[in-house]
Assembly symmetry: C2
Homo-oligomer: 214 residues x 2
């Protein structure tokens, strides 16, 4: 939790004004340090067993964005946004609980005994799961951080658009992604050149069920 | 976007102070109307093709919470939180684009022609996808809304904990969940009786890759 939390921004304004933006000012390059601060805010999100299985491949190199452009079906934001962030999950994280939990011990948040008990629970848990279950866990955890990332960007006056429309297989091949990492989504991040389109939502009563769904 | 956005809360304070809370004051019942407001804020989240495929089964009935208690391995928050929200995705939503997009036309956000073009794109998209791809889409979209829901709760002084530790099969059986709905996570929502535990995170440099992962 070493993130610098120095800014102030109204939560309700942020969630109301955040829209998916597809046109970016290509002259605006967000400094790497500021991107790192936003990632630091994003990963305060909750996550399964606190395994921190989210990973972020941040593509800022213009030549790489040009390689990505056809893979993402020629969406203009790939070229113009300051960064394209490939949000990934790490299947190896399930085996790396010690790395996180030892630090919790060092920080005085838990005893060695509690750590060992949690690590044993985690091991039993992931050994009982299918590969599909584990991938679902990664999808969920990385998506929670992604939402917080998009809000953190808006809080700083930047905009984003989450993208699922790209050829995942080609992406993995061209970017030489090791098998341990699972693709979750791409997020374009930059300074808006045009505002996002307004959209509608179903009403709350159309998406909510009280006590029974059947 | 008919949500009432009348409150003010600092985004950075919310993301910093939100923690997973497991002890709730069982005497505090959040009014249904307030839960609906928070769902309305949550579903301002972005989502694939704006299909609004998220669904929320809100369990407030104490007898049902007691049925859920063993299914969720006797976690105390199931009994004590004001509501347990089962976040779901609706596989039928991929076929129901008309419902959302007609309203966008009615709102003057797009023409009938644009609507038809988008609906045709969506149809081509989901017909090219496997069932697993579609489920992943639901996992992602429902998780984005879940994160925003947990922040919306914190903005109002409530707390939450996302739960993946429950027997999904038993849950579906006992709550008689129709096949079209996919389980994403449970979220306990209530008034904290004890603060959440502090946790550590991996450093930003440990989860970020610049331009290449290999």
């Amino acid at each position: 939790m070493q993130t610098t939390l120095k800014r102030s921004a109204d939560f309700y304004q942020i969630i109301k004004e955040r829209r998916s933006v597809r046109y970016y000012d290509p002259s605006v390059k967000i400094p790497d340090e500021e991107i790192k601060e936003m990632i630091g805010e994003a990963i305060l999100a909750p996550n399964g067993y606190n395994l921190n299985a989210w990973r972020f491949l941040i593509i800022t190199d213009q030549a790489l964005k040009e390689k990505l452009y056809p893979i993402a079906y020629h969406q203009q934001q790939v070229l113009d946004a300051s960064a394209i962030i490939a949000v990934m999950g790490d299947l190896e994280a399930f085996w790396q609980g010690e790395r996180v939990y030892q630090r919790a011990v060092d920080a005085g948040y838990m005893t060695e005994e509690v750590k060992n008990s949690i690590l044993s629970t985690i091991k039993n848990w992931f050994e009982s799961k299918t590969q599909e279950d584990l991938k679902n866990t990664l999808m969920i955890d990385a998506s929670l951080a992604s939402m917080q990332l998009m809000l953190a960007a808006k809080a700083r006056g930047y905009d984003t658009v989450p993208m699922s429309g790209y050829d995942v297989e080609q992406f993995r091949k061209v970017f030489n992604i090791p098998d341990r990492y699972v693709n979750v989504m791409l997020i374009a991040l930059g300074k808006a050149a045009k505002p996002g389109y307004p959209t509608v939502r179903l009403g709350v009563d159309e998406v909510v069920f009280w006590n029974t769904m059947s």
